[in-house]
Symmetry: C2
């Protein structure tokens, strides 16, 4: 039985560690830049692959990521499963009832967006000679169809993430975009499956007609009876097997079977996992915790691994052509922004909102890259075309978030602890006196943000004298509004022994949270206060805060409290 040698195992462990580690590192860097993490994850592969590392030290690169022997097979197995799991999670985010509720607007946006993009993509590929070198030994009709599909898809996971980040998920604009993206995704993937069936000469013993019929049966079954069976089976599994192990194990096994089915009938495994994900995610019995365990392990481990591995396969520098990248980007953006924007406008939205919808739907993200990779591996397209599609996917995802913020004049909602400056944490207030504690903390914070310490302290104390700012439970939130402040500033002072703030519940205060907010933005003060109150209501939080010894530890405590935005 062929197996992995001792040496193969070392290589595999190192390679997986490097891919996952670098992908997360660069992914986090891009998140810090307020850009999608997928850019960093792809970049990790570009750095570790032939494009950069292979150019600098070809021998070492091939030693770490061999292109022969057992290693590429093993890596292929991991990334193949990773992509299937990623589509499972993407499917679980699809909420069919949302799509129904926003019916009309969603259909307008989805259909016009797809029609426009498809028309533009097909016309350019079919009637002009610009992309004639893009396909390899293939029928130009098939390439034109593929290119049209590639321009038409949206990326539901990216779109959903952007809307969540901007606090727009449950708004009208948000729900319309989500509904449209769901329809778009569904149609896009099925069309792609159709296309790959069309091309699967020799890949499968089934004639194309059978492939399509078997696919249709699967999709219809899963989204009707399958969905209902899962909804009935889930409570049974949760009631009678270990939790969450039972649900996790069985869902994963079925997802793999569905993927095997769609792969076997001549389309792609990702489609089966995606459709099953929709059916599973639709059940109201699926608990949030199970969902999150899937999401976390898959989006933070498997997805980065998959995206990074792409860079190992393709040389991005050698296959980068500026004209091609720009052309694909412009065609893609025009098709979606105009198509979806018009759809939104016709369905009755304002101009501003319609533009926002257009740019949101323009995000291609992971889906485009997966589609491109499948097409590349099936020899639909050349490496140059693939690189152009990847760049287009990244740029449209980036601009989606930026343009929505710009058009709708939005700010990403910030948690209160993001307003604590680097030295804003006082690990021990050296007083037991109410007034002295407030003066001490106020002076400290004023110094950090370059304001006059005495006037700040007096302002806070004046407010405190009107009524105690104790929230009960050992926490107080003295506050003041200042002229000319740009953003809120918060300092946190700890008193292990406790300070008498004259609290309504009679308890001593151990955590003093001093809040300074801009005078011209009273809402912000209320938001911050509400956020603090909600956070400190979590059981066990106070102990962890009192236990923290530094600014970093405090931030770590707050960040790992899982407060969900409404």
């Amino acid at each position: 039985m062929p197996s992995l040698s001792h040496h193969d195992m070392i290589t595999l462990l190192l390679a997986l560690g490097l891919l996952i580690g670098t992908a997360r590192l660069l992914g986090e860097f891009f998140v810090w830049l307020q850009l999608p993490s997928i850019i960093g994850e792809l970049l990790a592969g570009v750095l570790l692959g032939p494009t950069v590392f292979g150019r600098i030290a070809p021998a070492m690169q091939t030693a770490l990521f061999p292109t022969g022997g057992a290693f590429p097979v093993a890596l292929d197995a991991f990334t193949g499963i990773a992509i299937v799991l990623f589509l499972l999670v993407a499917g679980m985010e699809v909420d069919l009832s949302t799509a129904w509720r926003q019916g009309k607007a969603g259909i307008y946006v989805a259909v016009l967006g797809m029609v426009f993009s498809f028309a533009i993509g097909f016309s350019v590929a079919w009637f002009t000679p610009v992309f004639h070198s893009a396909t390899i030994e293939r029928d130009p009709l098939v390439f034109s169809l593929f290119f049209a599909v590639a321009l038409s898809i949206s990326a539901l996971p990216v779109v959903a993430k952007i809307l969540l980040d901007l606090g727009l998920f449950r708004s009208d604009v948000g729900m319309t975009v989500i509904a449209a993206a769901i329809l778009n995704d569904l149609v896009g993937w099925i069309t792609f499956a159709f296309l790959s069936g069309l091309l699967a000469t020799g890949r499968t013993p089934l004639p194309l007609g059978y492939t399509l019929i078997l696919l249709a049966i699967f999709v219809v079954f899963m989204l009707s009876a399958g969905r209902k069976i899962l909804d009935r089976a889930l409570p049974w599994i949760q009631a009678h097997t270990s939790w969450p192990g039972g649900v996790l194990g069985f869902s994963l096994a079925i997802a793999l079977f569905c993927a095997a089915y769609t792969e076997a009938i001549g389309t792609h495994g990702v489609l089966g996992a995606f459709i099953f994900g929709i059916a599973l995610g639709d059940s109201r019995h699926l608990r949030g915790r199970t969902r999150r365990t899937f999401e976390q392990f898959i989006s933070f481990i498997f997805a980065p691994l998959f995206f990074a591995s792409i860079g190992l396969k393709v040389n991005f520098a050698a296959n980068f052509e500026l004209w091609r990248v720009l052309l694909v980007l412009v065609l893609a953006t025009i098709g979606k922004v105009v198509g979806c924007g018009l759809g939104a406008y016709f369905s009755g939205m304002g101009k501003r909102e319609s533009w926002a919808v257009g740019f949101a739907m323009n995000a291609r993200g992971a889906m485009e890259i997966i589609l491109g990779l499948l097409a590349l591996e099936a020899n639909f397209i050349s490496e140059r075309m693939f690189v152009a599609l990847v760049v287009m996917a990244l740029v449209t995802s980036m601009t989606a978030a930026l343009m929505m913020k710009f058009i709708l004049k939005l700010e990403k909602p910030r948690r209160f602890f993001e307003f604590i400056p680097t030295r804003g944490f006082v690990s021990e207030l050296e007083t037991h006196d109410h007034r002295e504690a407030i003066y001490q903390l106020s002076r400290h914070l004023a110094g950090l943000i370059d304001r006059d310490p005495e006037s700040v302290a007096e302002g806070v104390w004046r407010r405190e004298q009107i009524m105690s700012t104790s929230l009960g439970g050992g926490v107080a939130v003295p506050h003041a509004r200042l002229d000319g402040l740009k953003t809120p500033a918060i300092a946190l002072g700890i008193s292990k022994t406790g300070i008498d703030f004259d609290a309504a519940d009679g308890e001593l205060v151990h955590v003093v949270c001093l809040i300074l907010t801009p005078r011209d933005n009273p809402d912000q003060q209320i938001d911050v206060l509400a956020d603090i109150a909600r956070t400190f209501r979590r059981p066990g939080l106070l102990e962890r805060v009192l236990d923290a010894g530094s600014n970093t530890e405090i931030l770590s405590v707050f960040k790992t409290e899982d407060i969900r935005r409404a």
Copy 2:
């Protein structure tokens, strides 16, 4: 670049789905029998492998699990990584400070247990001819050493699981056993690493001395400076990267690097992951949620996959020899039970507790199987010896739980909802009257457990009249103690419109939880009441209960509320 073909991918998806699905199915079945799930997981592989499926339908078995081509390489990659991740989680369960605190007793138990087992194992293998056929082309000294180590190890994860199940984890007996198992594991794995170094002729370019020095440096560094660095780095990672993605990704990447290191110096990858797991799990900054995401995904997906895959490699029927299995089992049990039992007795424990400690430490579980598989793959031992070790591991794990229950006269603590009989859920009480609701539910439950309806109802109502059993928040717990009842019985009645139970908080009661307990066990009534009160205090629970339409859905709701036992 060699890669997985379309056909390989279908096979891989199907095979992984079958392995994970069957392993969970049988695993759950054994949990239902109150036995460790690992038995079912191994059995899944035995069924799918050459032992059963291969005997019934050899052609089909080879088609699904091919022994040539890319498939075995891909499966090997998955199981190789799975075992590394499993040891990472096992390491995370090790709590060094517990080992310190229970120092004396733990050391007595661990050392005597190891010395006894080692002596017995070595003597039998070295001085008698019984196992001379067990090793393949190897030095009998090395085999004797291996066999001695194989008898000496314990299985911390299994032991911890048994103690948790029995509610003994934080007791003196429990903590001593855990401390001893930690020491035992640590010494056992390092000794095994030493052994594999001793045998690694040709596997590594390093001479044995270097291997041992490099290993010692790694272990000492990880458990001292490395542990401190991780403890400092964790808050920083949690504060400054996405949560829990940052921690998950980076820990996994480092675990893979550590595994690559220990593999590269000529020992095994599992050792690096295990030691890193100890260092990581030791940090108080590692949040429970991160720990559980690792645990859940790895113990419910990767571990079953690994254990099931073992059955694909070995024919358990052809290599089963009763005399060998019994001999190994008896030697293993005598060594551990006598050694550890004496250790516990000398450290000052009572006779009963000492026996319990002995049987608990006798559990070999997953660790023995992993050790055996590594030895099999390194050609230390024959397949027959491997099968004997696996059976010994399973039997000792099963007896550990049974004997502890028997010796300490323990019951596994049961959750209140386990006392609800199959038809004990009334989805709508057809009355708004306090007395009528209690009579209706009492009669219903009495009928299900064969008691006189009227006398039960009167008993419950008599108690209710003394003082309302409303817990507040819409829940009431009418109850009575009955003569001759063996176990508690609970019925749950829902009233959507609400019933006036004269509650202290003035709210109407929507959930009536009728509790009948044995008269001679007043503690049980209190336990059940406390469990119900604690459960219904969870936010959002009442809504989910009111939403449930059947017995199964109710059970699913309760079971997926994550109430942790203290």
